[in-house]
Each structure stands twice: as C-alpha cells, then as structure tokens.
Amino acid sequence: MSATVATARYTRKELTADHPTWCPGCGDYSILSIYFKLMEKRQIPHEKITSVAGIGCSSRFPYFVNAHGVHFLHGRAIPFATGISLSRPDLHVFVFGGDGDAFSIGGNHIDHAARKNVKMTYVIMDNEVYGLTKKQTSPTSPMGFKSKTDPTGAVDHPIEPMKKLIAGGATFVARTHSHLPNHVLEMMEQALDHDGFSVIECLSECTEFFPGAFDSANPRKGGTFQLVPPDHDVTDEVAAYRLAMAPAPGYFGVFYQVQRPTKNAFELKLITDAQSRAGSAAVRELLQKTFQKFS
C-alpha cells in the first residue's frame, strides 16, 4: 500500500456532503446525523469509511456523507458490501437501506450474510412504507395500512424484522428509533464494535406517507419507549425471540449478540493455511508447479 496523507482530526463538517434530499421531518436525518457523530467520536481514518446502499429514500445516504460511498442496485447492497468486506479487511463497511431493500427485493441476502457472519454493519431504516415511489405497501406495512397499492388496506401479513434477523443467524441484532438519537448512537456504536454481521432495525418515520407510524414508541408523542429488560440475556436465542414476539411498538435495544467466527476469519485462515503449505513460492513458481501436474 502506498503512502497515506496525514489526516487531521475531522469533524462533522468534513463529513458532510450534499444536503439530503429527504423531506422535512424525515426520520432519516437523525440517523445521518448520528452516523457523523459516531465517525467523529471514533475517528475512523476518513478514507477508510465506506458507506454502501441499495435503492430507496434511505439508500440516498452515501451521497450525504463525504466519504467513499456506493449507490448500488435495489436489494443487492448486502452482497456488494460482502465483496468489499471479504477483500478489504482494512475498511469499515456500513450498509444503509430501507425495509424494501432489506425485506422485499433483497430478502434472500440478509439470511446468507447473517449465517456466514460477514463483517459489516447494516442499518435498516424501516418506515413501513415505500416512500421514494410515493406510498405503496412495503413488506413491513401493518395489516390494514392504506396505500396506493392497497387502497382498502393491506391484506398481507408483514415481515417481522427481529424474528427474521434472529432466525437468519445474525450475530448482533438490535432495534432502535430515530426519534431517540442517544439510543441510536448507543446501538450503532455497539454494532460497530461487534466482530461480525451486525444489524440494526431503526424505526424511521416517513412524515409524508406514513406520519405517526411510530408515535406509540415516542415519549414526546405520548408513547412508551420500552427498553429491552436489563436482565435479558443477549446470548439466549429463545429469549431474544420472545422479545421479538412483543406486540407493536415492541422493545428497543440489543435483542441478540453472540460471538461466532466471521467468514472473514475463515477465509483468512484458508489463505494462511494454503500459503503455509505452498511455502513462499512466487506466483510464477506455483503456477508452473500446478501445470506440471497437467503434463
């Protein structure tokens, strides 16, 4: 690797890029702001921050962060981030996206990144509606939700994110609410420190198409922000599942966290084992030797 430029201690100002295109009052502002705060607090080298997103309102995220970023395809941010994570252990890979990306078009990928325990942090900004395309039913929209695709109310049972993430094998599963920034920061910081696939469902209100969706968990709107009980054992999968069974608005905090070797570590071990068997031969010699077996 070539010489790096010495970076001075940076602040939110250096991390701010384009002004967000989100609507006034959108919950996503708060998450962006907390991401800046986290980067500022932890002083991750500026050039090592990598923000990846799919498609949707929340997936515009990387444009608003002045760091290396990617705006990939709808639903495929996770495998894209997997490619970065497994080939570049020096980077901090964050993925941002909405409920459509995570649970509808990209639903298959979460389970596999989770079971493989690919190191990255995934923040799902769940507004329970399709916002960018202007109010269609999302996979997390509650039954009866009226949208342009369900004018008389949604009839499909919604995905329950916490259940899916725990069952998928994610090694860090947390839930938070964009109206409670301190809690969001706490969850994101723990996710960042987790060695593995860490995922946070962050309720993030769409003031335009689903206003008041999460008021029942917002103390400023008369709701109750119910934290995960202090005696909850985060390593107990069944207990985590039980928390996930709670009716809306449910609990907030870390539901589940275990240490399991990451895919990154397994792949690295394959490399170190293979290279120790092969010795310190140059690429040319290794190929020569292999081809001799074909002669």
Partner: protein, 609 residues
C-alpha cells in the same frame, strides 16, 4: 515393444461407448495425457447425461501427429461396452473402421462387411485378472491396456501415470488397476492382425505440453492474470471453474465465494472491483440472464469486472449439458439502456487461458465489464497445448491507494473516455470523497440528470470501446485472402471450420475462413476481408433466426449492411462436424437449399437426459 505388422498412422479417432459409471472418461483422460507427454496433439469430445449417475455416455479421443482441429467426424475405432453402446454408435464408425466389443455382453450383426469386428471378453477377462468384485471398476483399465497395445503406446509411461494417479487410493486399488491394465495389454488381438503406430512428431515443442479442459484453462488464466477475488453460484457447465478457483485462490492470497444466488455473485464481484480488485464472476444458461442488472451497473459505474459465460443450450433451463453459441446476443446487449461492454470468445482450450488473461487486462484498462464467451464444448473437452511461459504470463494487479489530487474526477470526460474510480482507502487530498453510482452522474460522480450531461456520459462510455476497436488488429484469414467462399466463425467452432477449409481446398474448392475473437467491439478490417469473397457464410451453433441469420451473422449484417452474409447454423446441441459445415455450404452454393431440399438433422448421440 515393436510389432512388425505395425502400420504408421498420423491420426486416429477412438470412441469409447459405455455407461457413465464405467470410468470411460478415465481411459480418455489417460490417453490424452499420454499424448501430451509424447508430443502428440489431442482433442477429446464427450457427452455426459444430465442425470447424476448412470445413463449412456461416450468419450471420444482424437490423437494425431500434427495439429488436431476437431474431435473428428467419423470414428476409426469404436469400443462398445454394451449392446446399446454398439447399437447407438455403430453408425459413427467409418467404412473399414474397427469395432472392438465386449463379447460377454454385445452381439454384433454377424453378416455385415462394412467394418472389422473384434470381440474381446472384456468383462470376464477383467474378472479373471483382478477378482470378481473389481469387475465394474476394472474394465476401463483393461480397455486402456488393449488400446495401448493396439497403438504401440508407451506402456511403461502409462503404467507410471496410473501409479501416480491412484497413489492415494491404497495398494489394493493400484494392484487391481495395474493388473487390469496388464491383462488388457497382454491380450492377443489375434483377430486383428494389424497394429498401429503414430508417426513421430517432426517438430518437438520448445516447452512441455499440458493437457487440460477449457474450464481449467480459464481458471488458471484468471489466476495468472492476477485475479484474487471471485464469486459464483453453481450451474452446469460453469461450476468446475468456481470449484478450481475456490480451492486454488487461497494459495495465491485470494478468495472465491460461493454466493447465495447469481445476483449476489455478481454483486459481490462488483463490490470487490469497487474495492480495487479486478473481480471475476461467471455462469451458464439462466445465470447470465440473472446477472444482467448488475452488469448494467458495472457499465454505468465503470467497474473493471470479468464475467465468464460458459454457454449451453437455451432458452430457460434448455440443454444443460449440450453446446450452443446462442448467448452472443445477451452477451453483447443484455442490461437495459445503452450499456457498452467488451465481449471476447476463446477459440480452443489453449485460447481459454490467454483470452481470460487478456479479458482481465481489458477490464483494467477500459474500466468496464468484459464477458468471456466460452461454451460447453470447450469447457469439457481436453486438449494438449504448450505450457504457457509464466515469466510473461503472470502479473500482480493488487490495488493501489495513491492519494488523488484536487483535480481528480472519477468519471473524467477524457478524450478516450477512459477514467478509473478511486477505491475506498484512497485518501483524497482536497478532502472531497467520491460516490460510485448507478444513477447517471457528472464527472465527479454526483447524480446528474441534466440532458447535456447524459448525452456526454453516454458518449464517453461508448467512446472507450471505439478507442479499443481502433487498437485491435483485423482478424487473420485462414487460407488465401481472396476467393469464392469465406467461412466466418467465432468461439469453439474455429477447429472444425479450419478443417472444413482444408478439406474443401484439397477438393479444389476456393474456401477460406475468418475467425472473430472480439465480438464487441468488432475488430477492424472485417468489411474489407468480406469484400474479397463472393460468398460469406457465418458458421454458428445457434438458430438461423426469424430473418434467416444467426446471431453473429445478424450483428455483421447490421454493422456492414452486406447482403452477401448468410448463415450456416445448427441447433442439435452438438459441436459442428466438418461434414455438416461443408454440406450446408454446398447446399447454399448450389441452390439446393432454396429448392427446399431438407437438411439431414441431428447428431448421433444426445447428451441431456
């Protein structure tokens, strides 16, 4: 061991017909490797059932002194293990050819005079040699011994190869293998009072020869070119490339990921390319359809990416274990919008190595996806070729993270259109970091939908390929540069097309061939070459289409507006035989086709179950 009655030959086509569990691939494999070690050219051809085990299967080996261009139209020696093998394949045996059959199981027609039939009690002699339980495993080795004797092959070398190959399986297995081999070698083919000996090669190669299949050549070509990240999803016949990369890449410090689906596989490859590598993905059949969206992203975001497409019969699930060249259109045009990419096609197994190597460098240089269009026929057949000169053909393409200055633009609208993104980890001196995106963007990577900007960026992405086209050389013409008929081909049909040219010229016809390696952009000079001929036939393993032209023929017609261009097509899922090319050519030249004479359809064996 010399035999006084040995007749010197330069070329032999041997077909082993049995069931897929008989290990006939092993016979072919050992013969091919022996040929490689004794400076003979070799080409193999096999069919395998699409089912997991069981079912009729063949392995055809063509050995020759000098260049072997195809697996051979007609069989010189047919080895039949079962009655069905005999019945299904006897028609492929040429007049005057030799049938060797297992007299324990096969009853050939006693009255025929067309070929010589030699019965050998293969099953019972194998049992006699190695004991009752080994019968099913040993017949192939017995036959290998028979063949070694028949062709005066180097039995000591073969025995050494058997010992090396089965070393890990234990002494008992080696004893049985070698025992069966010896029994076959010692068997007196008394009924066939003739042996054959290959004419020694007059020009031994400078380097050792290797024997491998096309998928192996692609995998090692990628490794040699410096590819250190790949992702894929299992699908026939692409899978063996990913199997090799999965087990070999770690040795070179690389990683290959088995993804959850085709979309994830190309997404992972895009991620690794963004991270600074030249990543590889690949697939066959339906997989290339699934990868289309991300391919378009890689065009838009200008990512260096190599995509291998091992073509099989389509559409949909189609013919998984048969060959077709019907993915040219999807390779050139898949993904919505105007999405220029590079498409190259290897002509044979050796070329798989070099084409993949080149594809990696094209991706790096032009920052766009490069498709390598190979096919089931090259993927599974074994050829011998000179070992690559690894002093030249290895390279280190590890990513660099040199800081970018204030003037840096990831999508700079340069004169040649070429620009390279800054991978994450790259410090930006002015503190402004880029986003890479599938949205239309300005030179700095910001989303920009302004009309003039889209016009500029569409042209920029197209211009890169025009610049590449100018640098390419015109295709070489096989045979004289002017004449009556030009046969045009691409990919795996090169060998049979060249053999067709040689046969036609030997018969006094004026026929040449042009092989197109770069399908997108097309090489320069193609129009001028076609001008030198009265007739141009594009030979392709795909359908003649709604308007009478196959996929390359249609591409060339739209490019050159040349109504001389016609097609020679077939869709039976099997490689072209030399005779099939010439028959169709003659039909078109003499107007027999226009008169409505039906074409003889189909090969002699099907692969898919």
């Amino acid at each position: 061991m010399k035999n006084d009655s040995a007749r010197t030959i330069t070329d032999a086509v041997i077909r082993f017909a049995g069931n897929s569990q008989d290990g006939i691939q092993a016979i072919g494999g050992f013969l091919a490797r022996l040929a490689g070690r004794t400076d003979k050219d070799v080409m193999t051809y096999m069919t395998i059932p699409a089912t997991i085990s069981g079912g009729p299967s063949i392995y055809q080996v063509r050995l020759g002194t000098g260049e072997v261009l195809s697996a051979g139209d007609d069989v010189d020696f047919l080895v039949a293990f079962y009655q069905h093998s005999y019945e299904n394949h006897i028609a492929t045996l040429r007049d005057g050819g030799v049938l060797i059959y297992d007299s324990d199981t096969v009853k050939p027609d006693p009255d025929q005079k067309r070929y010589r039939a030699v019965g050998v009690p293969i099953s019972s002699l194998t049992v006699e040699a190695i004991g009752g339980t080994g019968k099913d495993k040993g017949k192939n080795m017995f036959v290998l011994g028979l063949v070694a004797r028949l062709f005066e092959l180097d039995d000591a070398k073969l025995e050494g190869m058997l010992n090396a190959y089965y070393k890990g399986k234990g002494d008992d297995v080696i004893r049985k293998v070698v025992g069966a081999f010896h029994a076959g070698f010692a068997y007196n083919l008394g009924q066939l009072d003739e042996h054959f000996e290959f004419k020694p090669s007059d020009k031994p190669p400078a380097r050792a020869r290797v024997v491998m299949d096309g998928n192996q050549a692609i995998a090692y070509g990628a490794i040699a070119a410096g590819v250190r990240f790949g992702a894929g999803y299992p699908i026939t016949p692409w899978s063996s490339i990913m199997e090799i990369l999965r087990s070999e890449l770690p040795k070179y410090g690389g990683t290959f990921v088995q993804a959850e689906d085709e979309l994830a596989a190309i997404a992972m490859a895009c991620g690794a390319s963004y991270a600074g590598h030249v990543a590889l993905t690949g697939t066959s059949g339906p997989g290339i359809s699934l990868k289309s969206e991300a391919l378009g992203w890689a065009v838009m975001a200008e990512m260096p990416l190599v995509i291998i497409d091992v073509q099989r019969g389509g559409p949909s699930t189609g013919l998984p274990t048969n060959v077709e060249q019907s993915d040219l259109n999807i390779a050139c045009f898949t993904a919505h919008g105007d999405a220029p990419r590079i498409v190259v096609a290897p002509a044979n197994v050796e070329d798989c190595f070099y084409t993949t190597f080149e594809a990696v460098n094209l991706a790096r240089e032009y920052s766009c996806p490069v498709l390598v269009l190979t096919d089931q026929a090259i993927a599974t057949r074994v050829e011998s070729f000179e070992m690559p000169d690894f002093a030249t053909f290895t390279q280190d393409i590890a990513p660099h993270f040199d800081p970018r200055g204030p003037d840096y633009k990831p999508y700079a609208n340069t004169a040649d259109g070429i620009a390279h993104h800054a991978p994450p980890g790259t410090p930006m001196v002015d503190g402004k970091y880029p986003v890479v995106t599938g949205l239309e963007h300005d030179e700095s990577g910001h989303p920009a939908s302004r009309p003039a900007n889209h016009v500029m960026m569409v042209a920029k992405r197209r211009r890169k390929l025009q610049v590449l086209a100018e640098k390419l050389s015109p295709p070489a013409v096989y045979g004289p540069a002017e004449g009556d008929v030009l046969l045009v081909g691409w990919g795996s049909t090169q060998g049979p097309i060249r053999e067709a040219v040689e046969k036609a010229r030997a018969a006094g016809e004026s026929v040449s061939a042009m092989h197109i390696r770069y399908l997108m952009p097309l090489q320069p000079g193609i129009g001028e070459i076609m001008d030198g001929f009265h007739h141009v036939f594009v030979v392709e393993l795909n359908d003649e289409g709604l308007y009478g032209y196959g996929q390359l023929a249609a591409l060339l017609r739209s490019r050159y507006c040349n109504d001389k261009i016609r097609g020679i097509n077939k869709t039976d899922g099997l490689p072209f035989k030399v005779r099939e090319i010439l028959d169709q050519m003659h039909r078109k030249l003499t107007g027999r086709e226009a008169a409505g004479e039906p074409l003889a359809v189909g090969g002699d064996e099907g692969g898919a179950g």
